[in-house]
Structures are given as C-alpha cells and as structure tokens.
C-alpha cells in the first residue's frame, strides 16, 4: 500500500486516503480536433516499466488533486507536485535524473 505526500495539506497519505486518476499531463482535445488526436487523448495511455507520471486525488483528505512521479517497477516515489501545471517541475525532473539517469517519458526527459 503506497504512501504519497500530498503537496497541498502536507500529509503523507496512505493509499486508502487516495483515489487514482491515471496518467498525468494529458492534453485535452475538444471539438474541432482530428479523430486521431481525440482518440489518443481519450484512450491511448503510457504503460511504462519505470518512470511514470500519475494523477492522484487526496479524496479522503483535503480533496485536492496532485501529481506523482513514480517508478512502476520498484514503486519508488521521486516526488509529488501540484496538478496545476502542464509540465513536471524542474526539481522533480532532477530528482528522477538523480535516480534514473537518462530517463524519458513522452516528451519529457
């Protein structure tokens, strides 16, 4: 059972307090978008072994959404950060690089 640090209320939250929200940093495609883009936005998801970016909600806590950068194979957590961003912040990327040099995820590295 994971523990993730909620960056809003500062709690180290047990997984039972959290609701998973799938992949982070999705770009929304709305009306007028191409079928392929919209399909990818709705259905295509990364499924990496290793570094991954996820959305979580502190559902049974402060209620806020946040992002987590984590390793899907070792369950190591590189950091959590505000959901109100388009890209992972530099300190999170640095933390990942320190542990997983040369990592790559979608367009981020």
């Amino acid at each position: 059972m994971l523990i993730l640090h909620c960056p809003y209320c500062g709690t180290d939250a047990d997984e039972t307090e959290l609701a998973p929200g799938g992949e982070a940093h999705l770009k929304r495609f709305g009306p007028g978008s191409q079928d392929a883009d919209f399909e990818a936005y709705l259905f295509a998801r990364e499924n990496p072994m290793g570094v991954h970016f996820e959305r979580w909600r502190h559902a049974n806590g402060c209620g806020k959404w946040f992002h987590a950068a984590r390793c899907t194979t070792t369950l190591e957590v590189f950091g959590t950060y505000s959901a109100q961003t388009l890209d992972p912040p530099q300190e999170i990327r640095d933390a990942i690089t320190a542990k997983r040099p040369g990592w790559r995820w979608r367009d981020f590295a």
Partner: protein, 1003 residues
C-alpha cells in the same frame, strides 16, 4: 501409540487439567497444551483424512506449518473449519471435530479413492472437464462434491467480534525466537521504536528446545532475561500470539493477533488485525524442516524430527515407545538424543549420507543408538499407523535389507528459511547449494518509497542455521534496521554462542534415489492436497515445464498451508524430471497471508450496521415508523413505498400513485444532490459541465440539464437553479452527489484551475419535500406565507420566502407531470415542515409516496431515469434529448465524443415507448428479437426494455426501451421473448403516455 510422559513439558502446568472434546470423545489435557499435543497425549494419532484419497493422516508438525491436523472448531455461531490443531491452545470446554471424513474418522468411505488413485492422477479435474458434459454433471460432479473439500463453510452468523489497530513504528520485527529478540534489543538500544511480534504464545523459538547456550547460560534463561529487558524498555512493544501475516508496499504490514482463541471470553474481541506502517521490517521468521520423500511418509506416526523434539520437550509427549530417525543432516540427531533422554527407544538413526562426522553424531553413538549411514527408508509398514520401516540402501531401488519395527518415524530433509514475508513484496531469493535451500538475497530486498530496501531478514530466516550465526546475523540486522530508520545511539555488545561443528547435509529429494513407480506413488509431497512424487513427474512428462503451471496442474502447494513443507521437495522433483537446476526452475510466488487469517479479522469492525455508514434524511425516522419499505439508494435509504396494514407492496404503490395524481402526495426528496457553484466564472464552468447552455439562465429560473463524461456518455441529470449572477444550485441524482461533486472538482482543479469558481456539496444542509398533485397549491396556501400562484411562481422558476413559519426555497419543477413544488427548508426543520404539510394536507387526503410511485409517474410522463435509460453506453441523442444539447456552445464535456462516427451512427438504438398488446407488463431488460441469427447462433436483437411498470393511471403495462430506428417505427409490433419461454408482443409508441401537452404540471 503416543502418550504422555510422566514428567517434563516446559509449557505444561500439570496442576491444571483441561477437559475437551474431539469427535464427541471427552478427553483431558493440561493447561499449556496445544490441541495437537493433547490429542497425542491421549493416543489420538489419527486426526483427519486426506483431501483426495481420504488416507488416514496424523500430526506431522508442531506449528504453523502443519498440513494434516486441521479440525472444525466450535459449534454454530463459533464454528470454524480448517483450524490447525498445532497452533490451537487447549482450553476448558474446547470442542473440535475432525473433517473430511464420512461417515466416521475411523471408517471412511472415501478411502475407496485410495484404491482407484490410478484414475485420479494430476490434472484429473482438467482432464475430466474435457469429458462429455453429461458425464460431468451426472457422474463425476456428485462423487467429487461428496468426497472433496477441506472442511465445510460455516452456516451461522459469526458470534464473535473483531477489531483493527493502526500503528506506526520505526522497526517491526516479526518472529520472537532468539533472532527476533537479539534484533529487537539492538534496535531498541539504538533508540528506535520497536514492535516485536511472535505467532506462538512463547518467546524463544527452537533454541530453547534444542538446548542452546547463549552468553554462557541456557537459552531459556537468556530468553527470559532479554524479554524482561525489552518489556521494561519504553520504546519496545511486544505481542505474542501475533503473526506477521503479510508485508506490503512502502512498509505496510499486517499482524494477526489471536486474542481469545486460547481462552474464549465473551465481550472481548476474538482477533485483532494490526495495520502497521514501519520504516523498517525485520523478518526473524526462522526455518521450516522439510519432510523426506519415502513411500508411506504420510502414515500417522511419521513426523518431522524437529516436531518430535518439540512434543517431547514442550509438552512431554512421547510419539511412541520406539521411534526411528531418518535424516540427511545432523539436526535430526538431536531428536534421537531427546528421545533417549526421555527414556524412549530409538531403534536406529537412518542417515542417507554415506558418512558424516560431528560431535552430535558422536553423542548419539555414545548413547548406544545404532546409526546406519548410506541407508534409506524403503517404505513405512502399517495400514492406519506406523508399524515399522523397511531399511534399504539410499543408492538403490528400495530392496528391503531389514525390517525395523517401530511406532513412529522422525524425519528430517534439512531446513528451509521462512522467506514468505521477505518475498511478499518483491524480495528476491538465491539458491544455497550447501544447505539445498532458497534464502533471501540481501542485495535484492523489497524497496520502499525512497528506493531503498525496507525489509531485512535475521537469523535462520537469513539462512543462518547455528546459534552463533543466528545471533551474529540478528544482532547486526537489528542495528542496521534502526540506523535505516534514523536512529544511531550506542551499540550494545551482541549475544554470543559457541561455534558448533556440524557435518554437511546432503540433499535427498527421493528416498531411495532409485525408487521405482510403485514406491514413488506412495511418496507424498503435498500432504494437504494429496500430491505425490509421481504426480509431479507425470506433470513434467505431460509438458508442464513452468513451476507455476505445474503447481496449478497438480495443485502442489495450493492448499491452506500454501506448500510450506512441500515447496522445495516439489521443485526438486520437478527440476530433476525436467533435467534442469533447481534455481533455473525457480519458486512459485509467495502470497500473503503467511497462514490463513479469519475473515472476521479482515472485516474488523466493518460488519452489520457499521459495515457502511447509513445516511438518513431529516424525516428518516418518520418513514421508519410509518411503514416504509426501504430501498437503498447510494448510502441513503429511501422509502420504496409506505405499506399500510394488510396491503401488499404493489397495492401500496398503486394507492400512492393514484392519490398523488388525483389529490396530493408528498415525497422526501432530501437525498437529491445539491451542489452550489459560485464565482465569476460559474456560468462558463457550467456551460462546460452540462450539455445545455447554463450561462444564459436568468436568476430566479430553473433549467433541466444533462451531464456527460468526456466520452460523450450520459452521466447525470438534474435541475439547475440560478440563484444570482455568480451563483447556481445544481441538483444531481440521489446517488450521484458525491460523484458529480468530485467530477466538477477534477475539471476545476486539473484543467481550468485559473477559472474563478467554487463548488460546495450542500446536500445535507437542506431537507427537501416535493408537494405534488392537483391540490399542491391549495395546501401551501392553507399553510400560508409566500405567494405560490402561477403568476408569482410560474413553472420552472424558484423563489425564497416563508411557508408557514419556515424559511423556504420553493422550486416549481415537476418530475411527475403534476402541479408540483419542491421545497427546501433547513435540514433541522425538515421533520417539522413534513408534519406541517401532513397536518394541512389532511383535508385533501395527503399521503407520502415512495420511489416506486415516483418512478411510475415519471415513466408515464416519458421522463428518463439515470441508471435505467442510461447505463454508461447511452448518449443523450439516443434518448431523444436533442433539445437539451446546445448547438450554440463551442465546447462542453462530451461534445467532441458525440461527433465520433459511432455516436452519430443512425443505427444506434433510440428511445421509444412500448405498450403490450394485452396490457401486461414487459419483463425488465427483455430484448426485442429481429431476423436471423448472429455468429454464435443466437437470435439477432434490435432493442431492449429499459423501464417497465404497470401504470395505475392508464390501467395497463407501459415501458420504455431502446430500439433500432425506433422513433421511425411507431406502431410496429416487436417480439420480446421472456426467460420463461413466453413471447411478449409490444407496440412501439411515444414514450410520453400521460398528458403529452403538459397541461397538468403547468397550472
């Protein structure tokens, strides 16, 4: 025959005798006995029948690894099957019965399986499933059902109760043998918070039985002193009868504490599940002795050598006057000595090694015990219990050189570390060639959130097998765990023991090594699931090369003991049959719990009323007192109808509908979700949330809205009221409030976080009553207060004001098609308001109505219901709700998805009304069949029923359904076959059955 020795037994209190019952026999033991030791002391060697062949089985082990001695404990509300006699402590009045036998333990019909065992090979079930279906149903299944199964499921509600404890600690140490104690004292010395748990009632583990010396004193004294020190330390928490059940991600562990199994006491919880978060976990779980695979190794009287020692030393039980010891290692020689010291005979130690030399072997020789090197047990003699063994050469095929008569056999195939807890969360293993066992690989531990290992092993669990090695390892691991948890106070001197000289063990997987088929099919690997050496060899022969496949095919290690004894032996036989190395074949996955834990402990306090919180409206108690027949809606209970004396549910529903349509009805609508959406961007936000345009709604007005997911599918509906320029109140379905509030927050927080919008779920703040029917206005006017005339409060508007002496917000909305006011008052005044309406409504014959009347009236009007007409695959366009989908808005959730080709397909099934030709009610969910058959030979379908009722207003069955091209096919008759073989004919009609012009609601 096993019996009680005249003296000794370190766990026994001989001054306190304990009466208990086994299979109806009244027996007597002592305080301190386990059920197993007490049965043996009473000569009860036979304790059960095996799973498949119903062979007689006796007690094999002395602890949690026991595969045979499973019993039914207790009666009725305390009945529990599959309890291990070896871990069940004896108490006065204990009631146990053996299981898996019929008609009696001594005479069992199922033993016939034993004689047809040739026809029950591994993969029997898989192979039999291939037979003609009729044979399975009429021949195999009845036989298998009668004879299969371990125990019977309890039928009565559990009388006992259970609890959960949550705890955080620096270091959790699992196992209270000398390793756990040594690790705990060092971790505690470093300043860490330590929790130390031991599954049995006693500290010290095997070392005490085996007579080890620590720091120059007997192990028992060292254990006593150390436990006292730990008990006095403020930073150490000790629990006995508490088993480490599982280790999970990020330092989470479950500890299963059996509080009163040893001494039942009403008013105390039976089990407690500790939910532990530890920075570091040390598993000091010891090792388990392996059986040897010789023919007849399952006969009652064949026991593990270590267990024999336990029974003699701990419980003063003699397994029999004459015990033959058979081994491939030095440790079993201790058993020979222990028996001899207890005054019992050891006719021979049969050692598979061709030669070995060590002090313990010398001691046995000096005690005058015959030692046979390079020898094997060819087979065990006896029918229901051991009568003797045939001696053969280990190198040969099993020709008997000599028969040695005996009452018991103590066997040892070497020791395997208990790696389960290490492995639960991903710790890796390495094969130790010298000890022929898998042990934890300290370089590949389970990893925590920081990427560093959080589990370490100590003592025998690490693979250390001598007292000196165990102590040195545990002392270091205790220190290391505390340091990893951030503590580094002064180190204590570690405990010391003399280095022991032992001869190397020699792996023996089959005894004798050249045994032919006749012997191999009498060599048991998995006692509980009746898997033999020959079964694993057959599986390999049939092509099952993966250990995971072989496990499932043969059921090796799949019983309640999860193969604690048979794992390595089975792997070795498989790898030999595959001609591959054991490490290449690998192990199966170890899964929690370590030994079975009770469902009660898992559920904890979450049972009956406390299973799930019940949400009650302000009028809940009134409903309860007035005949409410409850329906669960989310966490709420809503009255389905209010039954009067002598009335059926159907009659009550009809009465409620008729009364509402003809005069006046009241509905407790408090459960409807009420979400306040406020802020300068609230209108813009709701335009994205709803398919309708909400930003143009004028303050004081209401609008029915639809919500879709980004996939385009209909998700919720409800009436939105605009309170002022910045504020909207959004009603959701009763079950949907939390979900929709979360949905709004998700989009606000993660997509449009710069929009100035605030949402609050106000559902419980108001009690809401729908006042419905032709007399609805009159009753409000009678109570007096605000103007509720058609002019002052037209349809689809709302107003704040006073009704009687209540502050009220009145919505002119209708879900029934009647004149209707939905009135919200402060929740704490809900009951008073309800009473006022009942009192004033008395002259109109007011009646409350429930959800079924609500559903019927909405169906008569053709209004959809989320969850009936929608099911997660339906879009609003399917339901003819185009009018509620804005064409002006550039965007809303679901808009893009609804433009996808599949969503605009004209062949999508669409909403229609359905009217049976004979007035009967269509079966719910029935499908309309079409022409021809599909690829699976099933009839093609062209529609289905989504809602179906008897309409009291129209006096006939009405239904709604989704039908291909439905709206274009008005008047056509469809065929809906029922599951009863009957055909139901229904005509496609408009879904609006009642007052299509809306004259009744708009008055």
């Amino acid at each position: 025959m096993s019996t009680r020795l005249a003296s000794g037994g370190r766990h026994l209190d001989r001054s306190r005798s304990v009466d208990f019952s086994f299979n109806g026999k009244r027996l007597r033991g002592f305080q301190g006995d386990t059920l197993a030791s007490a049965l043996l002391a009473n000569g009860q060697m036979l304790v059960g029948r095996s799973f498949k062949y119903h062979r007689p089985r006796g007690i094999l082990a002395s602890g949690a690894e026991e595969p045979n001695a499973l019993v039914n404990m207790g009666k009725s509300g305390q009945f529990e099957p599959n309890q291990q006699a070896t871990t069940q402590q004896l108490f006065d009045g204990l009631y146990a019965t053996s299981q898996n036998h019929w008609p009696s333990l001594e005479f069992d019909i199922g033993v016939l399986n034993n004689y047809v065992s040739k026809f029950l090979p591994s993969g029997f079930y898989y192979k039999t499933f291939m037979a003609p279906r009729a044979a399975w149903k009429h021949v195999f299944e009845p036989i298998v059902r009668q004879s299969a199964g371990l125990g019977k499921a309890p039928k009565d509600r559990d009388d006992d109760f259970y609890e959960h404890f949550h705890v955080h600690t620096d270091v959790l140490i699992i196992g209270g043998g000398i390793a756990g104690l040594a690790a705990a004292r060092q971790a505690a010395a470093a300043g860490a918070q330590v929790m130390l748990v031991e599954q049995t009632a006693h500290w010290g583990g095997r070392a005490v039985v085996d007579g080890a010396e620590i720091d120059g004193m007997p192990a028992a004294d060292w254990v006593k002193n150390t436990v006292e020190d730990l008990e006095n330390a403020e930073n150490v928490h000790l629990r006995t009868r508490a088993m480490g059940a599982g280790v999970f991600d990020h330092g989470y562990a479950l500890v299963y504490e059996r509080l009163t199994d040893h001494a039942p006491e009403p008013g105390l919880p039976r089990h407690r599940l500790w939910r532990v978060r530890a920075k570091q976990i040390v598993t000091a779980t010891g090792a388990i002795e392996r059986p040897l695979s010789f023919a007849g190794n399952d006969l009652p009287g064949v026991m593990l050598a270590g267990a024999v020692r336990d029974y003699v030393a701990n419980w003063a039980v003699s397994p029999g006057d004459r015990t033959v010891v058979v081994t491939n290692n030095d440790d079993a020689y201790r058993t020979a000595l222990a028996l001899k010291q207890a005054g019992l005979e050891v006719p021979a130690v049969i050692d598979a090694r061709t030669h070995a030399q060590s002090p313990v072997i010398d001691a046995v020789r000096e005690a005058g015990i015959r030692i046979e090197f390079g020898r094997a047990v060819a087979k065990v003699k006896g029918r229901a219990r051991v009568e003797g063994v045939g001696l053969a050469t280990q190198a040969g095929e099993g020709a008997v050189l000599e028969e040695i008569s005996c009452d018991a056999v103590a066997m040892s195939g070497g020791w395997s570390p208990v790696v389960h807890l290490w492995s639960h969360c991903g710790g890796k293993l390495i094969w130790d060639e010298a000890q022929a066992h898998f042990r934890p690989d300290p370089d590949l531990p389970p990893l925590g959130a920081d990427g560093a290992g959080f589990v370490r092993t100590a003592g025998s669990a690490s693979g250390a097998l001598s007292t000196a090695d165990v102590l040195a390892d545990a002392d270091g691991q205790g220190r290391a765990a505390a340091m990893a948890a951030g503590h580094k106070k002064r180190k204590k001197a570690g405990p010391r023991a003399e280095t022991e000289i032992a001869a190397p063990m020699e792996p023996v997987w089959i005894m004798p090594q050249g045994a032919g088929p006749n012997l191999r099919q009498k060599m048991w690997l998995d006692y509980q699931n009746d898997v033999k050496v020959s079964d694993v060899q057959l599986a390999a022969h049939e092509g099952y090369e993966s250990v995971e496949h072989t496990k499932r095919y043969t059921t090796l290690g799949m019983a309640t003991d999860q193969g604690k004894l048979c794992n390595i032996n089975g792997l070795a036989v498989l790898s030999d049959a595959l001609n591959a190395g054991i490490p290449q074949v690998g192990t199966t996955t170890f899964r929690p719990p370590y030994t079975p834990i009770s469902f009660g402990a898992i559920a904890g306090e979450a049972r009956a009323e406390t299973f799930q919180p019940l949400r009650r409206t302000a009028m809940h108690d009134w409903h309860e007192k007035n005949g409410a027949y409850w329906e669960p809606v989310g966490h709420w209970r809503r009255p389905f109808c209010y039954q009067r004396d002598g009335e059926s549910i159907e009659q009550a529903v009809l009465r409620e509908v008729n009364n509402t349509r003809q005069s006046l009805g009241l509905l407790d609508a408090s459960t409807l979700g009420k979400i306040l959406v406020k802020g300068p961007d609230a209108g813009r936000f709701l335009d994205m949330m709803y398919t309708n345009m909400m930003s143009t709604l004028k303050p004081g007005r209401c609008r029915y809205g639809l919500m879709c997911s980004e996939n385009g599918f209909l998700s919720d509906d409800g009436v939105v009221a605009r309170i002022d320029d910045d504020t909207f109140l959004c009603h959701t379905t009763s079950g949907g409030a939390d979900r929709i509030h979360a949905h709004m927050e998700e989009w606000l927080q993660t997509e449009w976080w710069d929009w100035k919008v605030w949402t609050v779920n106000l559902t419980e703040q108001y009690a809401q009553v729908a006042v419905v029917g032709p007399k609805a206005r009159e009753v409000l006017e009678l109570i007096g207060g605000m103007d509720v005339s058609a002019e002052a409060l037209p349809f689809m508007t709302w107003k704040d004001g006073r009704i009687g002496d209540f502050n009220a917000r009145v919505y002119r909305i209708s879900f029934s098609g009647e004149l209707s006011f939905e009135i919200a008052v402060d929740a704490h005044r809900g009951q008073a308001f309800w009473d006022a309406l009942l009192e004033a409504g008395a002259e109109f014959g007011v009646m409350p109505y429930g959800t079924e009347a609500l559903h019927i009236m909405r169906a008569e009007k053709g209004f959809i219901m989320i969850g009936d007409e929608s099911d997660g695959t339906v879009i609003p366009q399917d339901l003819g709700l185009h009018w509620a989908i804005s064409k002006k808005k550039a965007d809303f959730l679901g808009k893009r998805a609804q433009e996808r080709a599949h969503m605009t397909d004209p062949d999508r099934w669409q909403l229609v009304g359905l009217e049976t030709l004979d007035g009967s009610v269509l079966p719910d969910g029935a499908y309309a069949v079409g022409e021809g058959e599909n690829a699976n030979g099933q009839r093609n379908v062209q529609g289905r029923v989504t809602s179906t009722y008897h309409s009291p207003t129209l006096g006939k069955g009405i239904a709604m359904g989704l039908v291909r091209h439905g709206p274009e096919r008005m008047g056509e008759v469809l065929d809906f076959p029922g599951t009863d073989g009957q055909s139901n004919k229904a005509r496609i009609v408009s879904p609006v059955f009642y007052d299509p012009e809306g004259e009744k609601q708009n008055v």
